[in-house]
Symmetry: C2
Subunit: 347 residues, 2 copies
């Protein structure tokens, strides 16, 4: 089985290194690795954030372990050359439509959240975000109005097939958890949301064991602050999912701990920490590698069918934390490598 | 000066009544009032959520004091007949484009927030939300794809004139406060946002005394949880403003305390509490009228140039709270009328 390693920008290479050490320590038979260039690093090396060789490697791979993209040096580039295009391009080209972002507080870290410990401590939710459609991928551009004004536009849309497949992801995730699915939209204003809601209701007929509810996105943003413990699985579109999943991760407090998976229909997946490339601390050894290590665990579980090995990694991370392993973001002083060591020591 | 009273649905009539009592107690010369039907109440009475007579009254009025709209009985109606169309229609027809939502914690209520008291206590921000454009008002509908699939779509757009006028609102609000403006967009993905960002930067040349920053909406949703005290004024589009302003209000904790104003270019304004119609407690006397009373204060300040009277109301609300006035949402047992009494007693 082939794993593509895409370290990317900023702290990406440092954190992917630690995840690779952990994978190596498991000595899993038949795993091979190839590394590829993405993001600002790829642009600087070969002039494009998602070079053809990288895309070709991604297509061949069973799974992609991704660090982070984002480089302030690239801010002034044209949109199609910016680092973010690497992640958007991979999602689209590989049909990676189902982005799973679990948010759960490690008991030792409940105090890290800006929320009261009893509120943060109750968080155990999964956001299932659609990542192949919505206003992200519709026609977009600049035009001139009849009055000669500059105008920017982006078409938001979802068709029933797109909604149906992500709805199935959401319902199945809810079945595997506590059986509650909350679909988030803005159906009181958007027709895209109305279609979304109609189709989610249609799909719900296949899942009589899942309790479906609907919430407007503005209310969801409130409820994630007021009482995030009320949620089990949230399913939502690309744009609302972008906002709510980042909000939820911050409710947990320790964003350096949160992993994600983005899957297509054939089991392929891209695995990445939800935090960014943190250019300000790149190269200082301060980055927390645990979110990437936990992303590697998700990779073993979802794309390589190695659930037991995934459990081992997750247990080792929990143990390392319980033993007091703390990088700077968690109020400690351990380096990226020392955090990796702490996990390896208890694996 | 004519004030249109639009109580609307659910708890709307009860809370507007208390605000009217407070306005009456100020005995301001030359204020007249006319009441109009909006929302589900209007639909039930005359078949439309924003009847022509209501719109005509709104146009004549110097200011509108609005309760709330939203009625579960109307959920199955066609979109153009739903209660929400009243507020969307008033914003659009009267050109009410600048929605001001201050979020600040009353010291007595810092404990109400799900955020730690020291995080919530630092909140003192104003969200300036554009309410005449964006994906709310673009072409929208259902269509069939080439493959015969149902599809919902909504066009998101902003032109430079729309961005310029709300940018001026944002910069001017920042000048009157702590001189910091954060413009929130998703320019790494949306062309609408790129135009937004470009124009905000152009307008900033007129305000050298304001420190302008830019933030992506996903990051803003995180920062509003992590450290909301960092913000002074946030300016953003209609959709992002809907989400972030509700999130910010919940960070404050006591959503029954938060007022809003929506202004057009000629000083006319619509004033409403940011909470909804709360149909579950309508008629029980449990609703907190303070957000509506504070909205009446904003009305005196922004549309009627009666800043001193606005100050009086705000001081009376603060005093009532300090005296221990608490409705159910604030953990107390006082009724809607008793809360009004508590304010009147110290006015
Ligand atoms: C980098 C950016 C384009 C991306 C997104 O908006 O999807 C990121 O915020 C994410 O959530 O993965
Ligand atoms: C009722 C709804 C259409 C409205 C909006 O989305 O603007 C509301 O949420 C608000 O924020 O005033």
């Amino acid at each position: 089985m082939l794993i593509a390693l895409f370290p990317g920008d900023g702290i990406g290479p440092e954190i992917v290194d630690q995840a690779k050490r952990v994978l190596d320590a498991l000595a899993i038979d038949g795993l091979t690795y190839e590394q590829g260039l993405v993001g600002g690093a790829a642009y600087k090396a070969v002039g494009h954030p998602l070079p053809p060789e990288t895309l070709e490697l991604a297509r061949r791979a069973d799974a992609i372990l991704f660090g982070a993209v984002g480089d302030p040096d690239c801010d002034a580039l044209e949109r199609h050359l910016r680092p973010e295009q690497a992640i958007l391009g991979l999602r689209k080209e590989l049909g990676l439509f189902s982005n799973l972002r679990p948010a759960k507080v490690f008991p030792e870290l409940a105090g890290e959240s800006a929320l009261k410990p009893e509120v943060a401590g109750a968080i155990d939710l999964l956001i299932v975000r659609e990542t192949n459609g919505d206003v992200y991928f519709g026609e977009k551009g600049f035009r001139t109005t009849a009055d000669g004004l500059r105008e920017g536009y982006d078409i938001m849309s979802y068709n029933e097939a797109e909604v149906r497949r992500i709805a199935h992801s959401g319902f199945q995730a809810a079945q595997a958890r506590r059986g509650k699915l909350c679909s988030v939209d803005k159906a009181n204003v958007l027709e895209t949301s109305q279609l979304w809601r109609d189709v989610v209701i249609e799909v719900s007929a296949d899942y009589p064991d899942v309790a479906l509810s609907h919430m407007y996105v503005d209310n969801a943003a409130m409820q994630l602050v007021r009482n995030p413990g009320q949620f089990d699985v949230i399913v939502t579109g690309n744009l609302f999912g972008d906002i709510l999943s980042d909000q939820a991760s911050m409710c947990v407090g320790s964003i350096g701990m949160l992993a994600s998976a983005t899957l297509n229909g054939s089991g392929q997946g891209l695995y990445e920490p939800i935090h960014g490339s943190a250019p300000d601390i790149a190269g200082t050894g301060k980055a927390n590698p645990l979110a990437t290590i936990l992303s590697a665990a998700m990779m073993l579980r979802y794309s390589l069918d190695l659930g037991a090995q995934a459990d081992r990694i997750e247990a080792a991370v929990a143990k390392a934390l319980a033993n007091g392993a703390r990088s700077a973001d968690l109020g400690g002083a351990m380096t990226t490598v020392e955090m990796g060591d702490a996990v390896l020591a208890v694996l």
